[in-house]
Amino acid sequence: MPASSPWSVSRFVAHVRDILATEPDFQDLWLEGEVTNYTRSSAGHQYFSLKDSESTVNCVLFRRAWRSVVIANGDQVALQGSVDYYAPRGQLQIICNVVVPQGLGELQLRFEALRARLEEEGLFVPDRKRALPAFPRRIGVVTSPTGAVLQDIRTCLERRYPLAELILAPTAVQGPEAVRGVLRGLRDLQAEGVDVIIVARGGGSLEELQAFNEEPVARAIFASSIPVISAIGHETDVTIADLVADLRAPTPTAAAELAAPDRADLRRRTAHVLATAEARLTSQLRQLHHETGRQEVQLRQHLPPFHDLRRRTDDAVATLQRQVGWQVEGLRKATESQSAMLQRLDPLATLARGYAIVTDTTTGDVITTTAAGRRARTVSIAVQDGEFQAGGNGSTTPSRQGRGGRSPSLFQGTLDGLDPREQRSA
């Protein structure tokens, strides 16, 4: 031993950890063995030992590593992890990333390891899944140009949403060119500025699906500026690409259905929105109608009462009618009395009382003086029922009572001279 002073334990442990950390094999270590001394802490971490016929090594699977793994004592498992020295207890231990049942192939182990690593990195978190556009104008598809997958997608879009343009990024979907082809397709479709990308391939073995379990593909999907829908393999096959994609579809047809709306549904929605517009308009008109009615009521309250005005008008009219009626009646009575008076003044009425009117037959003048009577050769004497003629020339004796009188002495002459022509009714 050199004469230098002894190391502290901590210095020694730190040195051991340094050496372990610089050993490349220890950072991505694969071990197989049987589980023993299994315990699970209240925090959810799982502690166990892995042993074979001769040796044992302590292992820990932290809760954040991979929640879905279920292990028990006696299980034959394969695990992937890194070597660590746990200083407080002085123990060498394996910090596991993945523990899987022994017997899975290398691809499966790699799959589980990548899955665990990317999950821890946050590539699968639901929060980062992006919403798909409601009405994609251009739908990019990364898949084989031959085969049923493209045909299924195309048929589905033709039926549901032919408004879109389907832009194919053709690629091999298995074999050595597949990864490069998928990466190129994703890049080209982003350069095109499509609205959504579908990455699809049909079912196959784990080997055939391997391109979609490669880290570069996973990271390219994660980094895509455009939402990605995956439809890889059968529904039961889950690939890393499926886990990273914004949306996973069970089949290519389902991917197309998720990528675009259904036009039958859009017709219904259009009709619904229009119906809503109509309802709003109707509602506004009804509101205005109601408001108008309300204003009308208010207006009426502010106006003089019509019914009162009407009553007063009716009264005035009635009064007027009465007054006019009286006047008419008065006029009527006045007219009657006038006509009675006229009747009294009628000379014929006088004749009826026995007076007569004597006229000079020659001149037609009414004889009102004795002188005139003397002048007349003949006179016509009008009485109630007619006229007769008589001789004149002073043959009469004037008499005061003779005026209008009916004394036969007033007329001297023959009654034979009565001219029937002159008869008149009273």
């Binding site: 009405f135 140009p145 389907l166 080209d188 517009a277 308009l281 506004q284």
Partner: protein, 91 residues
Amino acid sequence: MTTPPPGDLLALDDAAVTAMEFEDAFAALQDVVARLDAGGLTVSQSVTLYEVGVRLARRCNERLDQAELRVRTVRDGIGTPAMDDDFDDDE
């Protein structure tokens, strides 16, 4: 959804609507409802707006009925001649 001034929508005559893609016509139709919802319009504006809505709805259905899926291959800069004879693209 933003509510555009009524003028924009009221100005959508037949020619303007006929030139619209489905999604634009559908969005405008939704705007019509939003605008009617917001209120503050004259009866005449509301009626005109509704008529624009009818026009837009007709255009939506027209597009849905007439459209035919267009298909083409992405313009890839690297030049991979990957096309198969079975695939008829419209490019």
